[in-house]
Structure formats: C-alpha cells, structure tokens
C-alpha cells in the first residue's frame, strides 16, 4: 500500500540508519577489507586478493579442510535439532491445554528455558551431564551405559543436541500453539461430523493451518542453530578432538587463537553467505505460499 507520502518520516529513520552504519556496515567493510589481505602481526598487512577464498574452497588445504568439516558438522547439527524440535514442538503444542488456568501455567513453564542465557544453559548442562557430580551423567553411568562427553564424541553430540532441544523446543511449541489457537471451532466440528480420525484432523486441518508458523519456526531455529557457539564452547570447548568444532568455534580459533585475521574474515564472509542463501530459500518458499492464498480472503479490492 503506498500511503500518501510524508517525507518528514525519513527524519525519524535517520538515527537508525546511523546506528546501523556504525554497528554493521563499517565492521562489515572492515571484514571485507581483512579478507583480501594477510597479516604477520605488528599491524602489517599484505595484499592477498582472492587467495583466502580460493583456499577456503579447496578441501585439500588446511583452511578448506577445516571449514568443510565444520560446515558439515553445522549442517548435521541443524538437521538433527530441526528433526527433533519440530515434531516434538508440534506434539507438545497439540498436548497443551486450550482453556482454563492451565493455559497460563503451561505458557509460563514453557517460556522458562527461553529466558535462560546461552552461557548459563551451557554451564547448567556442563554440570548436569558430568559423570561424577552431574545428576544426568551419574544416573546414565549407573544404568551401565558408558557416557562421558569429555572423551566420547557421540556422548558430546548427544549432550549438545539434548541441550538445544531442552532450550528451544518450547519456542517451536509456542509458535505452533499460536497457530493452533487460530483455528475456528467450526473446523473441528465439521471434522467430527465428517467422521475424520484424529490423524486426519491433524493432517488436513491442524497441519495446513500451522504451516505458516512452522515455516517461521524452522527459519528461526535454523538460523539460530547454524550460528551456535556459546553452548558447545562452554560444554565441550569444541572437543573431544574437533568433533564438536562448529564454524563459529573454528572462526574464533582462527581469529583470536592464531590471529589469522585474513582467513577468519574470509571465512566469516562465506559463513554469512551460507546463512543468507538458506534464508533466501526459505523466504522464497514463504512468499510463494502467500501467492497461493486466494484473492477473496485477503480482500484485495473491496
């Protein structure tokens, strides 16, 4: 809708533009600048052109190999947590009460993990999963299952996945719950009258009506999990070995550990592009879904 114009509105946007320029554009330019240079410390830089990017894309090089394997870990991690959190979130949303005092109680309970800061979540789980003093680790070991996230890569993965599921499933559930609440009663009544099974109600009414919020949930969870840093850093420190070294951890190692600013800059640009590309795909899917909506329902003209 192009509303009647009022150019004064731009004045109000200026402060935001200024802040964005300082906080995003200028640092980004710095990163771009670093990515085409090499440094040996002492603030001395040498022109390196597309060298870092070439190395980045070459799996046989050290940088390329590290990036590729951590990218693989990132994708695996995002895939696993989406595969768990989305169905689980839907299931939780379906099980949530629809009316009465229980609604408020459930909502508060569900919101709790979301309020815990990332590093605190990491610390909680680091202790919780320890074999000697952690409740979880101790209990699992007592059951005769060997479990030690410090030495066993599988245990480390299980721990960070469990941690993320614990932390973020409620977000998916709350979004789905909002979607479910917007379905008019008449749909459920019609389904009962049509003799639909519980599964059919889910498949043909609840799922289609939840689709939009689900896309948002998947998008949010993907972006967030793809950028995961704090929790594995606190719990496993990227180990054992490199088994939980994600792109972000690799990046920090390069930039702060080895002071390879050029490599790190090139990598973070690539990292950014991957996220942007995936988001673009999601965005396209979402808008295409919108196009499918009938004109009559959006009331375009009348």
């Amino acid at each position: 809708m192009d509303r009647p114009y009022d150019n004064r509105a731009w004045l109000l946007v200026l402060p935001v533009l200024a802040i964005v320029a300082f906080s995003a554009v200028i640092p980004l330019m710095t990163v771009v600048n670093y990515s085409v240079q090499d440094t040996f410390g002492n603030n001395q830089f040498f022109w390196n052109g597309a060298g870092w990017f070439k190395e980045l894309l070459d799996p046989s090089s050290d940088l390329g190999g590290r990036v590729l394997s951590s990218l693989g870990r990132n994708l695996a991690f995002s895939g696993i947590i989406l595969a768990i959190e989305v169905p689980l979130g839907i299931a939780v949303a379906l099980a949530m009460p629809r009316e009465g005092w229980k609604v408020a109680a459930t909502l508060v309970l569900m919101a709790m993990p979301l309020l815990v800061p990332w590093n605190v979540v990491g610390t909680i789980w680091q202790v919780f999963a320890r074999g000697d003093i952690g409740l979880l680790g101790y209990a699992v070991n007592k059951l005769g299952i060997p479990y030690n996230y410090v030495s066993d890569p599988i245990a480390a993965w299980v721990t960070i996945v469990a941690m993320d599921v614990w932390h973020w499933t409620s977000l998916v559930a709350l979004l789905c719950y909002a979607g479910l609440k917007s379905i008019p009663d008449a749909y459920y009544q019609a389904a009962r009258i049509d003799g639909a099974s519980r599964w059919a109600v889910f498949r043909f009414i609840q799922l289609p009506k939840m689709r939009r919020v689900l896309i948002i949930a998947v998008l949010l969870r993907f972006m967030d999990s793809f950028m995961i840093y704090t929790e594995p850093f606190v719990v496993t420190g990227g180990g054992p070995g490199n088994s939980t070294t994600f792109l972000s951890i690799e990046l920090v190692k390069l930039a702060l550990g080895q002071f390879d600013l050029g490599k790190a800059a090139a990598m973070s640009i690539a990292y950014n592009l991957v996220i942007l590309a995936v988001c673009w795909v999601f965005y396209t899917v979402m808008t295409n879904l919108d196009v499918e909506r009938p004109q009559a329902e959006t009331g375009a003209a009348s």
Binding site: M1, D2, R3, P4, Y5, D6, Q295, A296, G299, A300, A301, S302
Partner: protein, 366 residues
C-alpha cells in the same frame, strides 16, 4: 463540507483497482456505493478517506464554492470518520468512554464532552448501556457504539463500509430507518457501501453503482434505479436478479428466442432493426396477463418460494432463468408448466453492447 473526486484512478502494480472515476459528494447527503463484493467499494472509500493515494486525478474538499486540493494529504489531517463491517470499539473502555474518545483527543472540557455524548447516546438509543463494556453488548449495540464514535467527531466526511452487514436482519431494518435521520442532522457528506440494492433505495440520496473497479453510473438513487444507463448497472441495481431476454427487431416484429415473434408495440415500435436485450425486474413478470399488449412465454417452474405475503416463482424459459415476484401465496410444483407475462411498457431495452436504448416511463412506483 463536500468532497469531489476528479478523474481519480488507482493502480496497484499492473492491476487497476479503480478506473477513472469522478463524482461529487454534497454535504448533508448520503451517497450509496452499490456493488458486489470486490467491485471496488472499499478501494474507492480508501481514496476518499486519503488512506490511499490516487495514481492519477485529484481529490478536492469543497466548502460552498471554494475547493481545496487535498490529494495526498494525510488522513490524520483530514476530517474523516469511518465505520467498518466488523464492530470495532475499544474493548477496555466503557461505551461512554468509547463515544467520548474522539472528543478527548480534541481536548474538549469535561462538561461539554458529557453533554455531547449524552446527546449522541440519545440519538443512537445507547443511554442504558453507557457504563457497560462493548463486548457485553449485542452486535447491534456494538455497531451503534462504533457509529456514535464516528459521528460525534463531527467529521466532514463519514464513510460507512457495509456497517450493517454483520447484524441481524431486524436490527439492520431498524438502523436503516434511523440512519438517514441521523445523517441529515449533520453537515457531513456520508458515504455508505453496500451490496444490497434495497439499502441504496432506502438510504441513498445518491447512488454510485460499481462493477469491477469501474463506476458504472452516479446519480439520484431513484433515477439510477429507474433509468440505468446500461445493462451492468441495471443488474447491480436489481434484487431479485434482473430477468433478461435476447430479442431481435425486424421491421414491425420482435423476434423472440425459440422462433416465435410478437408485434412491436409502444416504445419497441420506435427501435431501429437490430439485436437487443430486454430486461425486466421480478415484480414485472406476472402469472396473469397484465395488459392487452402483454408478451407471454411458456416456462417451467423450478422452485417457488413463499415469503408470507408474496411468492418468488423461479422459472426456466428457453435458455433463461427468470424470477417472478407475485403477490399472495402461489405454491407451484417444480416442473409444472406455467405461462408468464410481461408488459412491454415495463421493460428496459438494451443495445447489444449493453447501453440503454429505452427505459419504461417514470411512474410513481415502478
């Protein structure tokens, strides 16, 4: 204050929502926008309100003889009130506070607000509910609250977008009666959008008929009803739907579908040879001959509907579906044959391209 739309047009992307439209709204009158869903009624109202900016053309505010260009002026700076089909009130305020809210924004003194709200509540018959919350009221009361809030602003332009559509039939009937009285008491130009021809006749001093984003006619309601310029307008302004009959005029005869013919009498005699569409409203289709010159048709009853004092007889005549509105209770069995009659003096004649060729004489009720 009045409002003039001067060759206003609105495109959204490649789609034209409103084709070039010009009309003049006089203060103290009600203009009805009549058309089906998606005909462009709301789009046109948004242009009038200044919620949307026309792609071309001007919007002028008139005051007596002076005209001010208000195209592109923000809606906030104009004197406009709008009521929607959905009942929109502040749910956490009492009815009194709801009605008073525009006055509070203006910063009127308390005593004046109280007096004005009391007067408006009396007109809208809301006095017993002033201390209630809107959601505890019936739909009709909620909508009256919304209308009171819109009218109390004393806005120069009041836009009512199908305000009665979500109300019970009887409530609609009552508000329909009250509305003209309320409007005429103000100096506002009032615009009322509806899909129902009956409302246009009852409420509108003027009617603008709309179809697919195009204003097909604008004029005094009775004039538009009785002399529609074209077939589209006649169809928009007929409920039950307009009955249609394609004919051809050859010399002194009218050739009817099915190979029969009738002598061209009265107004039909004056037509040039060619193809025409005859249109007649349901109450002009009768089960008995109505005049010696009546055209008669053999038809088959599909459904008869009784409304108490009247019956709607749906018939199929050749290819055409017709409705006859007849006085009294007539329960005709579906499938039965019936002869229907229409007085040629009561038919509209449209050219092949839809333009009006002839309208029946203006009677006191026709």
């Amino acid at each position: 204050m009045g409002l003039v739309l001067d060759k206003v047009r609105r495109d959204v992307g490649a789609v034209t929502h409103i084709h070039e439209t010009s009309l003049r709204l006089e203060p103290g009158t009600m203009t009805v926008l009549l058309g089906a869903t998606l005909a462009g009624k709301t789009s046109l109202m948004r242009l009038m309100a200044g919620l949307d900016r026309p792609s071309s053309g001007r919007v002028l505010a008139t005051n007596g003889a002076s005209e001010t260009d208000v195209t592109g002026m923000a809606v906030r700076e104009r004197s406009v009130a709008m009521v929607y089909q959905q009942f929109i009130n502040y749910p956490n305020m009492t009815v009194f506070e709801n009605i008073a809210s525009p006055l509070r924004v203006k910063g009127l003194p308390k005593s004046e607000i109280a007096a004005k709200v009391a007067a408006m509540a009396a007109v809208m018959k809301l006095e017993p509910y002033l201390e209630r919350m809107p959601l505890t009221l019936s739909g009709g009361q909620q909508q009256r609250t919304a209308m009171a809030r819109a009218l109390i602003k004393g806005a120069d332009l009041v836009l009512l977008d199908e305000p009665l559509a979500n109300l019970d039939y009887k409530l609609r009937e009552e508000l329909r009666e009250e509305l003209p009285r309320i409007v005429r008491g103000s100096n506002a130009a009032v615009v009322y959008a509806t899909t129902e021809p009956q409302e246009a006749l009852l409420l509108g001093d003027y009617t603008a008929t709309l179809s697919q984003g195009r204003m097909t006619q604008f004029g005094r309601s009775a004039e538009v009803y009785r002399r529609p310029h074209d077939l589209i307008t006649a169809r928009i302004f007929s409920d039950p739907p307009l009955n249609l009959l394609p004919v051809a005029k050859r010399g002194g005869a009218i050739l009817l579908p099915g190979g029969t013919s009738a002598p061209a009498t009265g107004a039909l005699a004056g037509l040039a040879d060619g193809d025409y569409q005859l249109g007649f409203r349901a109450h002009h289709l009768a089960l008995k001959p109505v005049s010696p010159a009546s055209l008669s048709f053999e038809a088959t009853v599909t459904v008869s509907e009784i409304t108490g004092s009247e019956s709607f007889i749906h018939v199929v005549c050749g290819q055409a579906d017709w409705v006859a509105l007849v006085q009294g209770v007539h329960e005709l069995a579906p499938g039965s044959a019936v002869t229907v009659h229409v007085d040629p003096a009561r038919v509209f004649v449209f050219e092949a391209d839809g333009a009006l060729a002839h309208a029946p004489a203006f009677l006191s009720a026709a």
